[in-house]
């Protein structure tokens, strides 16, 4: 595996807020390469800088008293293949501006990313950005004519700054790539990891079309629902918003009702799929309706769990037996509170991210890795999911 020549020594850059995640990615990368070095697995293991115990570039994001900032690198990055890992959703860092408390916002993290990229450019051999949750990903179209198109502006800016590869997980709308037709932009999915975690955590959950159904909570997520249901060979149900098109409130047609389309739910386990849990109201509303229709166990799956309104409503729903479990990835920041919840399962994406970095560094065909459906034909004898995953783990699973 990986017989291709690395493009340059890998250097990973973290923000202050996601250091732990990035540290773990670097450790996994080291373990993989160490193993390869020990086995003399390919001709490139002796390339300078190939195997290092720490790939993280020593650097600092500094904030001034005013809240403005700068970025400073403490070691050379000349000739390196730089991977910047940015989590714009992390809200675990605060700062004091003139005595006012400020929690670092997505804007701050984005400005920090620009600081990092602009400092590296001209020196690094290549700059890649891994931004699992795409900044402003939901501002992807104009509702009214006088609105800002934030995500497109962001993508254009990164492209113009010379970012070679941008990795985004499960974007709200993949058509944002239209903003940068020439950029290397890839959208790996977290579906494989979520499903394998689901199967290994819950014995009662079965990929059986008579026992389980996939549900999309609204019409905009239908494509995601179709993806899961066809790969898992499960039936699909969708909810859509029945709107009153005769009037408008706050620029939107008011929602009259939530209608369900699809197979019978009663007695079935339900997999609700969405790209993100924002406040969680959509997930919970959908769960409650499904429960009324006689659903058995309800599993809520989303790549990103934001829980902007806190966890109380989910606690209640769990205690009332409405939901069985919520699964989200560790690609975005999670409060320590969330990790302690009985109903929450954290899906570990760290080996994945490390694998993507390896693939890009060796100029491996990422498209093939991410999109091929033929590559993976069998998982536990039941699944076909076309996406990139960790080979080592795949081998382990096969052997067990």
């Amino acid at each position: 595996m990986l017989q291709l020549e690395p493009y340059g020594p890998i250097g990973i850059i973290a923000h202050n807020a996601n250091r732990d995640f990035v540290r773990a990615v670097s450790d996994v990368l080291y373990q993989k390469r160490k193993k390869r070095l020990d086995n003399n697995a390919n001709p490139y293991v002796h390339t300078p800088g190939y195997c290092r115990s720490d790939y993280i570039i020593d650097s600092e994001l500094i904030r001034f008293q005013t809240g403005e900032g700068k970025y400073q690198i403490e070691e050379s990055i000349r000739g390196h293949d730089i991977f910047i890992i940015t989590d714009v959703l992390s809200h675990n860092e605060t700062l004091d501006i003139f005595g006012y408390k400020h929690v670092l916002s997505p804007d701050d993290h984005y400005r920090d990313l620009l600081r990092i990229v602009s400092t590296c450019s001209g020196k690094a051999r290549r700059i890649n950005v891994i931004m699992p949750f795409v900044y402003e990903g939901r501002q992807e179209k104009r509702e009214t004519s006088n609105e800002s198109m934030d995500v497109a502006a962001m993508l254009k800016q990164l492209y113009e700054l010379g970012v070679a590869n941008l990795i985004i997980f499960d974007p709200h709308d993949g058509r944002i790539a239209n903003a940068v037709p020439l950029m290397g932009i890839d959208f790996p999915k977290s579906a494989y990891k979520i499903i394998s975690t689901l199967l290994s955590t819950f014995d009662t959950f079965k990929l059986d079309k008579d026992k389980t159904i996939v549900v999309s909570p609204d019409e905009s997520g239908v494509n995601r629902g179709i993806f899961y249901s066809s790969l898992l060979n499960l039936p699909l149900g969708i909810f859509y918003r029945d709107r009153d098109y005769s009037r408008k409130i706050d620029g939107e047609h008011p929602i009259k009702n939530y209608e369900y389309l699809g197979d019978d739910i009663s007695g079935r386990d339900v997999l609700i799929i969405d790209d993100m849990i924002n406040s969680g109201s959509t997930m919970l509303r959908t769960s409650k309706i499904l429960k009324v229709h006689g659903a058995r166990d309800i599993y809520c799956c989303a790549t990103f769990g934001l829980f902007t309104d806190g966890l109380d409503t989910f606690d209640e729903a769990y205690e009332d037996g409405v939901i069985k479990s919520v699964l989200c990835t560790n690609l975005s920041y999670h409060t320590p509170d969330l990790l302690e919840r009985k109903w929450y399962v954290n899906v570990d994406m760290i080996p994945y991210v490390a694998r993507i970095i390896e693939a890009i560094n060796a100029n491996e065909s990422v498209t093939d890795l991410i999109n091929s459906t033929s590559r993976i034909t069998d998982f536990l004898g039941q699944m076909r999911i076309g996406e990139l995953f960790d080979e080592d783990e795949f081998e382990d699973n096969k052997n067990s």
Binding site: G67, Q72, K101, S105, D107, R111, R138, N146, S148, M149
Partner: protein
Amino acid sequence: MTSVPADEKSYSRYNQYGENPMAPIAPIGLIPLKGSVEFTEKVNYYLTTRRSEYQQEAFVSKYPGFYRQDYRIEVENARFSSGEGKAVIKNTVRGHDLYIISDVMNPSITYKMYGQLNHMSPDDHYQDLKRVILACSGKARRINVIMPFLYESRQHKRNARESLDCAFALEELYNLGVANIITFDAHDERVANAIPLSGFESLPSNYQMIKEMYRQIPDLSFTKGKFMVVSPDEGGIGRAMYYASILGVPLGTFYKRRDYTTVVNGRNPIIAHEFLGDSVEGMDILIVDDMISSGDSMLDIAKAMKERGARKVFCAATFGLFTEGIENFNKAYEAGIFDKVFATNLIYRRPELLEAPWFADVNMCKFVALLIDAINHDASLSNLINPTEKIKKLLKEKGENI
């Protein structure tokens, strides 16, 4: 009324008292961002007043939208619960000459993020500015940005492997199609090198400052031997020198003596603050700087001046940030270390600062209104921007012997 004699060039030179025959480029639209609402309200007042002075009815009626009671255009900078945002323009901006006013130094503005109240950082304000430009571009006739405190202006040079934030922000604005970027007392004007092709202006606030000093200090007199201008460090000499020469008074300066044999945190450590200049015994002192950040160095210098026998000590800074609060200034004032601090209303001032007896708020709104009027006429700004003539006139009126 006309202070500038008529000549061949007077058609394009901005006349702040009389008629400006050059056609206005388009109807003005003032867009206040969150945090500059109050400031823009005042600017709008002065702009309406100024435009009501245009006498030639034919001229006024020829240009629709030239004279209006309210030039403001409402913008909503909405925030999602994750802290991301979007900008929505509430009125038409098509064909307008837009002036977007942004105060990045206003942490008093809040929004809800993850259910919690969050105070806005300069990054938040700056991204909001970009959002508004994104929402206007392609529709507005021209976009101008008035950013009194230049975002990241102190990150203007590279000492090590670090980011050049100010230049980068200027390039961003330029690439978004901003025609003019107006700021005040930029920490280092050379940041304009980043955008050699755009209209970048860094304007002084000295005239308004001196005017306010006359208003606040009854026995003010710029007489040689009684008054002295002091620069707090060698970097600010240029600014202080201007005051000293136009007021016709001597200059003193502090400078940082460094130990060049050692390096701490990438810089040579400061051994002492040395003073260069004549005796300050019995003199009134004006300490001039571009901004008061925490204010510690300003107070140190005021103290040093008092120790050397200065009579009264005044401080003038375009931006009074007071990042650490104003408690230490209150104490120093009570101890008689200084008499007055002058700072402009170009940025947010916390309420307790406005109430402090030692603080004088310098109003820049009228100047900004005139500036907008002039830019809208595509008039030559030089005699509006250059305060020398105006200051000389003011000093003459006050009976100064210069």
